[in-house]
Amino acid sequence: MLDAPVLTLEALSVRFAADRGEVVALEDVSFAVSAGETLALVGESGSGKSVTSLSILRLLPPSGRIAGGRILFRGWSGETVDLATADEAALRAIRGAGVSMVFQEPMSALNPAFTIGAQIAETIALHQRVPWRDALARAETALAKVGIAEPARRLGQYPHQLSGGMRQRAMIAMAVACRPALLIADEPTTALDVTTQARVLELIAALQVETGMAVLFVTHNLALVPMIASRVVVMYAGQIVEAGAAGEVLAGPKHPYTRALLECLPARHLPRDAAAPRPLPTIEGSSAVRPAAGCAFAPRCPLATLQCETGEIVLRAVGADGRLSRCLRAELL
C-alpha cells in the first residue's frame, strides 16, 4: 500500500446555487496524485481548476456544494479519509497540517492584524507543538528559504509592509512550514517574477524530495508545466478535457483546447523573425457560453463537426501511454 495515492478524486461533481436552480461547476472529475509526485491542473478562468482545489479542503463558498463523488486523502499516518464527507473537526485537523494550500492572492491567507512572524510561527506551534521561540526560529528559516531578504526583520513586519511578491513568498513559507502530505498550490507563482518563480518552484521541488509530499499545482500557464510536473490534467468548463504525461501532452496535445492554449503562448513563437510580430493565435469566444449538449469546447473549436454538438462526449483513452482526451476527433491531432 506504500504507493497508494495521497489524493484520489473519484467522479467529483460540484454545483453552485444560481438564480434558477443550480449550475454545474465540476462534472465527473477524477485524478490521483501520489507521494513525491507533482500533478499540474491547468485551465483558464471558469475551467473549474480552482473549484477543484477549494473542494479538496472543503473551502467552497456557501453557494457551492459537492454533489457527488469522493475525495480520498491519505495522510502520513496511512489512514484514508473521504474529505467530501468528513466532519468539520476532521477537516480542521487536516487543514494546514495534512493538506495545506497556497493561493494566488496572499492577502486572502495572511491576517493583516498580525506580524508575518507571528502568523507563520502560530501555524508551526499549533500543528507541531514546539515552543514559541523554536517556532519563530523556524519561521525565520522558512522565510529565508523562499528568498526573502532580511528574514529576521521581516518576521516583525505586517503583511501591508511587504511587497505583493514578498507576501506571496511569506504565504508559501507558512504553507510548507508544517511539512504537509499534500500541498495544493493554486497559482502560487502567478504574481511573482520569473527568477522568484523559479526559486519557489525549486523550493517546492526540494521540499518534495525531502518530505515526499504530493503537490497539486494549479495554474493557467501551460509553459510552467514542464518545469514542475510529471503529469498534467487540462480542464475546460468544469471537465477534464485531457490528461497525460506532461512532456507528451505538451509535445503532442490530443485535445483542440490544449493545442490552442499552447499556441497562444508567446514562448511558442520565439525567436520571432519578422520586424513586426505576426498576431498570436487566439481562442475566439468564451467558455461562459456553454452548449446544452455535446462538447463544451465545440462552439470555439476549429475541428468541431455536427457530431460534436450532440450526444455525450466522454473522456477516453487515446493511444497506449495512459493519455486521456475528451474529443471525438483526438486521432486527427
Binding site: 531578504a149 520569473v194 523559479a198 518552484l201 514542464p226 508567446p266 487566439t282
Partner: protein, 330 residues
Amino acid sequence: MSAADAAVAGPLLEVVGLTTRFRLPGGPGSTPQIVHAAEDVSFTVRPGEIVGLIGESGSGKSTVGRTILRLEQATSGRVAFQGEDVLALKARALKRYRRRVQAIFQDPASSLDPRMRVGEIIAEPLVVHGIGARREREARVVWLLEQVGLSADARRRYPHAFSGGQRQRIGIARALAVGPDLIVADEPVSALDVSVQAQVINLLQALRLRMGLALLFISHDLPTVEFLCDRVVVMYLGRVMEIAPAAAFARAPLHPYSRRLALDAPRFGARLATHSDVGGETPSPLSPPSGCVFRTRCPHAIADCARAPPALEPVTEGRAVACLRKELFI
C-alpha cells in the same frame, strides 16, 4: 511608422540618469531609510517603438514608469518628451504632457470606477482635457470601443459586466481617448488568462501599427517582451543592466543577470534550471550592494565588481551592457 523612419526620427522619450528614491519613515528612535528604487536609469523610446522594461519586483521598473508619468517625484536626472523637460512641467504644461502620455495598469478592475458607465469612463479624459462637444465625444467613444474590439453597446454598461480581458480593453480605450503618442503599460496582461493575454498583445501590436503609437511595456514576462517589443531594457535592483534589440536579446542575452532571467523563464522542453549562484537571494533595495548591484548573485563576480557601479557601455550596434566583465559574454 516603419523601422527606418523610427531610426532617423529623434527619440520621443529620453530618460537620462533618472534616480528615484523613497524615504521610509523609521519607527520611533530609528533613522529614516532610503529605498533606492531607481538609480541612474537611461534609455530612449522612439516614435512608434515598443520598448520592454523588464525586471523582477523591486527592480524599479514600475517606479521608472510612474516617474515618467509624473506619479512619483524624481530625485535627480532628466526625462525629456519630444525634447521638453518633463520633470519641470507645472500645471498647464503638465496637463498638456498628460495628453501625450497615457497609462494602462495591471489591474483593470481597480483602475475603472465601478459607478461609472463604460462610456463615461472612456470619455472622462476627453472631458478633463476639454476635447470635443458632447456629441463628438460620444462618437469618439464608439470609435474607441471599436478600436479595442468591443461593441458600441458596451458604453451603456458598467465595468462589472465585463470579463478581465474586456476590462483591460476598456482601460486601453480610455488611454487612447486623447490620442497619446506614448502609452506606459505597467504589466497590462499579467492578470489575464493566457488566451486573453494573446488577444491583448495582438491588440497592442495592432494599435501601434494603426496609430503609430509608442509603448513602454513594463513586464516581468520575458517571452512576452521578446515577442512584442522592438527593444528590451533589463533592470535589476534599480539599475539598467542591459539594453538590446529584442531579437538579438532573445538569441543571446549578454549580461549575467539577463542570462539568469532567460534561464528562469518558462521555456518549452526545459526543466527547471538549477541555480549556480549560491548566494542567490535578491538584496533589499534599502541597502543595495556596493558597485554592481548584481554581483552578490553573479557567478562571474570579481573583487573589482564591488568598487563602483559599472557604466552602461555600448557593445554592439544598438546594444549596451553594464558589466565589468562584458568581454566574457560577447
